[in-house]
Amino acid sequence: MKTYSIHLLLNGNPVRVDVAAQETLLDTLRNKLWATEVKNGCGKGDCGCCAVLLDGKAVNSCLTLAVQADGKDVTTLKGLGNEENPHPLQESFIQNGAIQCGFCTPGMIISAKSLLDENPKPSREQIREAISGNLCRCTGYKKIIEAISDAAPKGQLSD
């Protein structure tokens, strides 16, 4: 089986890793780079919990080949912030009770980040649209939508 040596920036850190041609970025991240904050919920692009930013754009890492990430920036939930230096979305998800089991959270926050990067003042409907590829079975989405609204720069919000 042919393998390729790829190079990528994972949350700002340069890494080199050998991958098979058909290997998904999800498998590489979880099983070779130990980025287990990227979740595997379906492996088919239906649930969105494996979402990462690839050069700033949200993608399902289960539908992305590892070789497609060669030379690119890969950002996971951990790349956005940590307890000492949290991203506003992370703080907002905590404060709004937007996290229950937490399994969808890594992909959900990545999709929200991608949305806010493109549209800093989204309406609730635009938020719904942006996270419609991220399934959550616990929350009913209300507190997630509120958390994303709250993390957006203040002074907007309309339906």
Partner: protein, 771 residues
Amino acid sequence: MSEKLRDENKSHSDDHVVGKPFPRCDAKDKAFGNTKYADDYFLPGMLYGKVLRSEYAAAEILSIDPKKAEKLSGVRAVMTAKDIPHNETITRFGQTHTVGGFEGLYRILADKKVRFMGEGVALVAADTQAIADEAVKLIQVNYKPLAGVFDPIEALKPEAYKVGEETSNLVCYYKVRQGNIKEGFASSDVIVENTYRVPAQDHAYIEPEAGLAWIDDDGVVTIQVCTQVIEHFREIAEVLGLPYNKVRVKGTWIGGGFGGKEDITVETYLALLTWKTKKPVKLVYSREESIICHGKRHPYVMKYKTGATRDGKLMALEAKLLSDAGAYVYLSPWVLLYSTVGAAGPYKIPHIKIDARTVLTNNTFSSAFRGFGVPQVCFAYESQMDELAGRLNLSPLELRRRNYLKKGDATATGYVLEHYAAFPETAEKALAALGEKSKSKNPAVKIGQGIGSSMTSYGRMVFLHDTSRSYVGMEMDGGVTVRCGVQDLGGGQASSLTQIAAEVLGVSMDDVRVYVADTALTPIAGTTTATRQLYMSGNATSMAAQEVRKRLLEKAGEILQSKPEGLELRNRKVRMKEDPERSVSLKNVVKACASAGIPLFHIAQFNAPSRELVDFKKGQGQVFPDFAFGTHAAEVAVDVETGKIGVLKLVACFDVGKAINPQAVEGQLEGGTIQGMGYALLEDVILEKGMTRTPSFSEYLIPTALDVADVRCILLESEDGIGPFGAKGVGEPSLVSAAPALVNAVKDAVGTRIFDLPLTPEKILNAQKKR
């Protein structure tokens, strides 16, 4: 009046921890990606497991030849039924049947006969996942396909194909008899009779089943797994033929459960493979495997006949329930019992006759799912209520008002309600919160509103003699440690314990560390099922903390020269109630206790009230410790040209007893309501002759952010629950009445009622055509 009803925006004293919407103790780690789930653990040298699953729903296994698989390089073990020390274990359910000695069979791997498509037939452990995946394909199974039976009505016929080894497919049969049903209908002016059907529903937790097992330094088989029931360690030990204390289950933070991780999933397979290979083994289900192989919410056929007088007094209710247990018994008898006891709803009805049966078929087995048999009957009895209201020219609310049970009234099984029943106010408030009916801008789009009420138990059935245990201890720096064997599904089970311990011991939530879900190291707290953890383990933790508090106050009393009753614990200090300036730090009290040899920890056991087994021939007696009462209200927009249903508003109004954490309770109500919405409008596990036609999230549709309305929560606090601080459990109740509220709203909008879920646009259009 002892019941204090307070609304959502009540004020909170700053000194208290309970009752405030603090972020949960697990929220930060989840937000920063630090939380490990079952599939996030790895061990050096671990093997990868894979299950070979039956291609047939009904077949005889003539032979299994594992040789080719065993010869594949990298394969470390292949196991079939004959390699398992005790492939069958038996759960006894008591006198619950009319068909001879009833026992629930749990079979690890199919033996001789295959009962459903996807049943485990063989196990493999290999050096890599790819090798394990390849190896299962090399196992040669010679099947002789059999006819099978896939319809529960067919399965009941004497000549039906027999799913198991018994002479009948009937699993059990319960009856409830109250009053005289003939007299009841004779004295009714209006009688409504309908048949309702509900499909199988998948839990669709986002985390598929996963685990990792190894043998530790002391020879203990250790299984780290996402489970709602770490106490399966005993059953696993029996399968392996080991003493109970040689098997340990460590529960992980769970990525959703909803009842689907209540039965054993990967853990027995893992234990067997690690026992055989003496190496760590990991096993993770694919999404497809998860949907095909784990238990579902039971499909039901429900015949309801309800009678009332002209002035809207319910006189008689007759219900015939039949549920599809699928291929193995699992929890079907219990689920059916919940349906039977709940079949008449939260109404006072003098004449009741209920006959409930569950039957084996060759479909994927059915078992526990949030609501546990109650959402099915609630859909039926609440549809009946609206049909009756229409015939009587009463509003749905008014008919319900005239019939709701109150404290002191007897339920269908003759149990007299001992606690406050929040009717009609949950219905009035829920409906009022919808406001005026929205105006439709499009003449083809019709707007409707509906309600659904329910009473759903929390806590296990009282004849099970349920218990929970919790350890609370002080650390020398004034911090608090809780050890309690709760499994945290994501519903805040662990966090509520930190909040309770913090309240009792006068510290902040951040001062409390909670260890959960380990059969070796945390006191056994029972299952995270039956909406029982806040009630049971909350009480146990409160009891343990109270005992520690008592000792601290006694010692502080010596220091402050006060009677303990004159002291309180707040903000990491013990202070005089009358003179808060006079205080001693908690840390110094702890030190003084330590010097005096006073134990700074306590393990408490909470025993739920226990009763004798009910009489299943008449169905009379107390079955549950208490109920949560609530109402859902919904507003929908139905396009009569396309059949499309838009959900405009959803309200959930529940008496939660006491909101230990209002934000967490809202989370339960919001999530439960939306799962109920999925049940009503979208979700349908389609099986064709036992084959699952909806094995992924592109066929099995659950609500997305675009499908839902924001759920408005109205929390009432009677403080009359039997949990800590008067709390009730609402995890399951929050789902139950959402579906009938939506169905009733659709009827209100377009005038047609749909009798089988889910309410697809196709069914709406067909029903419109028939009118």
